[in-house]
């Protein structure tokens, strides 16, 4: 390719194009927010930062948030690695079923999860506590979900599933001949796991664990319901304070969010280090690879039981709570004469906006996940495999959305693409604009998942393609994308689920023709129609299951999944 006598390589062309696109969609809105945090009231001022960082409470909250995040991430990552190993590398029975059960935990909205566990383990009225106190004549409740332990327990349940989803492609993609070589050399099962399996998977495990750590730092809903009433505070409650101020203090919320930016930088540096030594972790090579399962003897029943126990805690209880809630006058209120009703369903579906909101959410989920994954794959390929000079900047840009809460990112879009440059193809209030928000919001996760997959892939496959005359984009399309399908599919499903249920990203940008089901749920929740809100939450879970079923069917047809 030549531009006015200058030779432009395909790598440079794609690199520059992606840099321009990410710059426009990410850096421009965030720069407006960042500038706004220095100009509260229209004049330059460091007041937001001074107030934030001169307050000793900021550091207390940061410390609580930090150690809670460490504890939760460690537990969730440990469980996720264990479950991923169980369903991909052992002879545990019914592995396909177990994998599907763990996936199920990911699709639980957080509210029914918390409400379900509150129904069981609140100190005075929790059903577990009431039953135990009556059965054993105890003077005090056994469980208290409103505690640090309760917060950690409830948070670990969904995050184990998220990490599991992100890790299983790496576990599945690992060549078993490496483990076999270790076994032939005399290593035991545990030594093989410790010396071969886990080190080979280290980039994937550490990458997703660090992603989880930052998300745990930003965790909010569980702390709000379980921690706030008993004065357990985290950093995000302060961000929420600023956002619920009248008028909202976006400057200070942004000043607080810079902490996350600082957290992202070491994470990024770590990933760069991995990229520099990527070949050490290649397990998908041109030699073909085998997947065999380790015989763990009788322990297979223990591992089977462990997954079922997790499924009961993470899925059965919240689903039961959610379904029961749809048949109650007021979910959780059992101590009335007529607690049950079937009216919530007809009343909810009589609302003329429900069907339209479901359709919009489907289009949004499919559009954002599909467009996003193609975009992320390209970015990842340029970052990991090319010699493009700006790849470090591109990588940095792709991290940036992780540093700001969803509502702040949405505000950035409002300022940039409604108050500033207008996008003719994505006008204010349109679904297209919402698709773009989710493409940006999902970028850190999507690019990381694809990075992990590409690092695992040996270079010789691409080199063969290039030697046979395949262009850069042909190699990407015919070699990289097909090999990356398991990772692609996992991330697609996660992004779809995020897009259909995330409210904060859409609340500032939606219009009458792009109302999605999460907005409708807010309307029901705000007017205390919690039974009907539960019906909508169940619809959301159903939508995600339909999407997963379709994606899985496509995966099976293409040989990506079994």
């Amino acid at each position: 390719m030549r531009v006015k006598g200058l030779r432009v390589t395909p790598t440079t062309f794609w690199g520059v194009a992606l840099l321009a696109a990410t710059g426009f969609l990410i850096v421009y809105p965030l720069a407006m927010l960042f500038a706004g945090s220095f100009t509260p009231g229209g004049r330059f001022s460091l007041e937001s930062y001074r107030l934030t960082y001169s307050d000793p409470d900021t550091y207390t909250l940061l410390w609580t948030t930090f150690w809670l995040a460490i504890a939760r991430t460690a537990l969730a990552a440990g469980l996720a690695v264990f479950f991923a190993w169980v369903v991909t590398r052992t002879n545990t029975p019914q592995k396909g079923l177990l994998e599907a059960l763990i996936w199920g935990a990911f699709f639980m909205p957080s509210l029914p999860l918390v409400m379900g566990w509150m129904t069981l383990a609140l100190p005075k009225t929790g059903l577990f506590n009431v039953w135990l106190m009556q059965a054993f004549n105890l003077g005090a409740p056994v469980f208290n979900i409103q505690s640090y332990g309760g917060i950690i327990f409830v948070s670990v349940l969904p995050w184990t599933a998220v990490l599991f989803l992100l890790l299983t492609p790496a576990f599945k993609g690992m060549d078993a001949s490496l483990e076999e070589a270790a076994r032939l050399a005399g290593a035991g099962k545990l030594a093989t796991l410790k010396g071969i399996t886990l080190p080979l998977l280290a980039p994937a495990i550490l990458g997703v664990t660090m992603l989880a750590f930052i998300r745990m730092m930003e965790s909010f809903e569980i702390e709000l319901l379980l921690g706030y009433p008993v004065r357990i505070y985290v950093f995000t409650t302060r961000v929420y304070d600023r956002l619920s101020a009248i008028p909202s203090d976006y400057g200070m919320a942004m000043a607080l969010s810079t902490v996350f930016l600082l957290l992202v930088i070491p994470l990024m540096l770590y990933q760069w280090r991995l990229l520099a030594h990527g070949e050490r972790y290649s397990t998908i090579t041109g030699r073909g690879f085998a997947v065999r399962h380790t015989d763990i003897g009788r322990w297979k029943y223990v591992t089977f039981g462990a997954v079922l126990a997790y499924f009961a805690a993470a899925v059965v209880i919240p689903v039961a709570s959610l379904v029961l809630g749809t048949f109650m006058q007021v979910p959780g209120l059992f101590n009335i004469e007529h607690p049950y009703t079937t009216a919530n369903y007809p009343l909810t579906f009589a609302d003329p906006l429900v069907l339209n909101s479901i359709m919009n959410a489907f289009v949004l989920g499919i559009g954002a996940a599909t467009l996003g994954m193609f975009f992320y794959s390209l970015i990842s390929y340029v970052v990991v495999r090319s010699s493009f000079a700006g790849r470090g900047v591109l990588e940095f840009f792709s991290w940036l959305p992780y540093a700001v809460p969803a509502i702040i990112l949405s505000l950035g879009f409002l300022w940039a693409f409604v108050g500033g440059v207008r996008l003719p193809f994505a006008p204010y209030g349109s679904l297209q604009l919402l698709v773009l928000v989710f493409v940006v919001r999902g970028m850190p996760l999507g690019v990381r998942v694809m990075n992990g997959g590409i690092i695992q892939m040996g270079r010789e496959l691409e080199e063969s393609s290039r030697m046979l005359g395949g262009s850069w984009i042909t190699t990407f399309r015919r070699i990289v994308v097909p090999l990356m399908r398991p990772a692609f599919l996992s991330a697609w499903i996660i992004l779809f689920a995020i897009a259909i249920r995330d409210l904060a990203s859409v609340i500032l940008l939606y219009g009458p023709r792009s109302r999605v089901i999460s907005v409708l749920m807010l309307e029901y929740w705000n007017t205390w129609l919690t039974g009907r809100a539960s019906v909508l939450a169940l619809v959301m879970v159903g939508m995600t299951i339909v999407a997963v079923a379709l994606a899985t069917a496509a995966g099976i047809r293409r040989g990506v999944m079994t």
Binding site: L224, I246, I336, L411, V519
Partner: protein, 388 residues
């Protein structure tokens, strides 16, 4: 080949779907090419001051223009589905106006309006919000609010509660639509006998109430901050210094009401009627009670916006809201008290005695709400109560 075809089909589906959205979007996702005039109409729409009655023909012109506009976008914090469906149908059938409701928290809608006005991308016609001086002042400062007095206000000057017409309009850009008796304490009737109900906020400082009271978070705007202010006016900040660690705090109104209803906590503070009425009507063992320090009455304002894309439809809607029919419909769905004397307030039988026996009421005038908002902005409750 098959793979290629499938990818092409998928991409085609996405492109076609998004294109269909583009095709559908412009009617409600402007920019308006030529913004309507700030005063609201291509006809001589009435915008009379107090005492001037609009000519009937002028209002007929507004009705005709509204029908021609055919649409209205309402930005609101409140949208009970039955109210939304009923009001939308009424506006369509009677006035030929298709209503769209954009629901978001008050400060979020205010930010949307601010950016829309600044960027001249006008979408909202009417803003219906909670009572907040700061938000109103903010939008007034950017010229977003339009002065308008609905004809019904002048045609029926004697039906308005409080200070008559002055209760309804500030003669600038605020229209009061309903009033809310708020922050009435609730108790669980199975955990407490009537003789044990707290009679005063002072009672709640006794050691026996420690950990048995939950209140809406006074650190954020809402019922909790109103309760904080009301008691601070009576007893000063010392009361709240003593109350530190005495009460549990939640930011979710529904959670405060739910905990009292299920019997986890005997007393709940900082709630409006709307927050607990669904529990009451479903038969939960809760009861609102009068308390010595009284409760507050706040008001729900609506504003016609400058450069509204459908200014006449906005005027027709605001006028209807203040009719007897509009007042009773809003009251029925929101639980608020009508601002008209001739409109019936249909509420739960347990609420009426608490309201009737409340010893005093703090009327949430602009000055009072301004004070409450300032407390919140300064983080007074957060500091005194040790909330982080």
């Amino acid at each position: 080949m098959k793979n290629k075809l499938n990818v092409t089909l998928l991409l085609t589906f996405i492109v076609v779907t998004l294109a269909a959205q583009v095709a559908c979007a412009p009617a409600t996702a402007p920019p308006a090419a030529t913004p309507p005039p700030a005063t609201g109409a291509t006809i001589s729409a009435p915008s009379p001051g107090a005492g001037q009655k609009p000519a009937a023909s002028d209002w007929d012109n507004v009705l005709a223009a509204a029908r021609k506009e055919g649409a209205l976008t309402l930005y609101t914090t409140f949208a009970p589905p039955e109210a939304r469906t009923a009001v939308t149908k009424l506006m369509k059938d009677r006035y030929g106006v298709q209503m769209d409701w954009i629901v978001a928290p008050g400060a979020t809608n205010a930010e949307r309006i601010r950016v829309e006005q600044k960027a001249k991308q006008y979408v909202a016609d009417v803003w219906w919000t909670g009572f907040s001086v700061l938000l109103t002042n903010e939008l007034r400062a950017v010229g977003a609010l339009q002065s308008f007095t609905p004809p019904v206000v002048l045609q029926e000057p004697d039906v308005w509660k409080g200070k008559g017409i002055d209760s309804i309009t500030d003669k600038r850009d605020v229209l009061t639509t309903t009033q809310k008796p708020s922050i009435i304490p609730i108790v669980n009737t199975t955990l407490l006998r009537p003789e044990d109900y707290p009679r005063s906020y002072k009672d709640l400082l006794e050691p026996r109430w420690k950990g048995k009271v939950i209140m809406h978070d006074p650190a954020v705007p809402g019922g909790g901050s109103q309760a904080f202010y009301l008691v601070k006016r009576e007893y000063g900040l010392q009361y709240w210094e003593k109350a530190k660690d005495q009460f549990m705090v939640s930011r979710d109104y529904s959670e405060v009401a739910r905990r009292v209803a299920v019997g986890e906590t005997p007393v709940g503070l900082g709630l409006s009627i709307a927050h607990f009425i669904s529990f009451l009507t479903s038969g939960a063992p809760i009861r609102p009670i009068p308390i010595a320090e009284g409760a507050t009455i706040t008001f729900t304002p609506m504003h016609l916006l400058n450069h509204a894309p459908h200014p006449n439809a906005g005027k027709v809607f605001l006028n209807w809201v203040l009719t007897k029919e509009g007042q009773e419909m809003l009251s029925k769905y929101l639980g608020d008290e009508p601002i008209r004397k001739d409109a019936e307030w249909k509420t739960h039988p347990d609420i009426e005695p608490a309201v009737r026996n409340m010893p005093k009421w703090l009327v949430g005038t602009y000055d009072v709400i301004d004070e409450i908002d300032k407390d919140v902005s300064a983080g007074t409750a957060r500091k005194v109560l040790g909330l982080k």
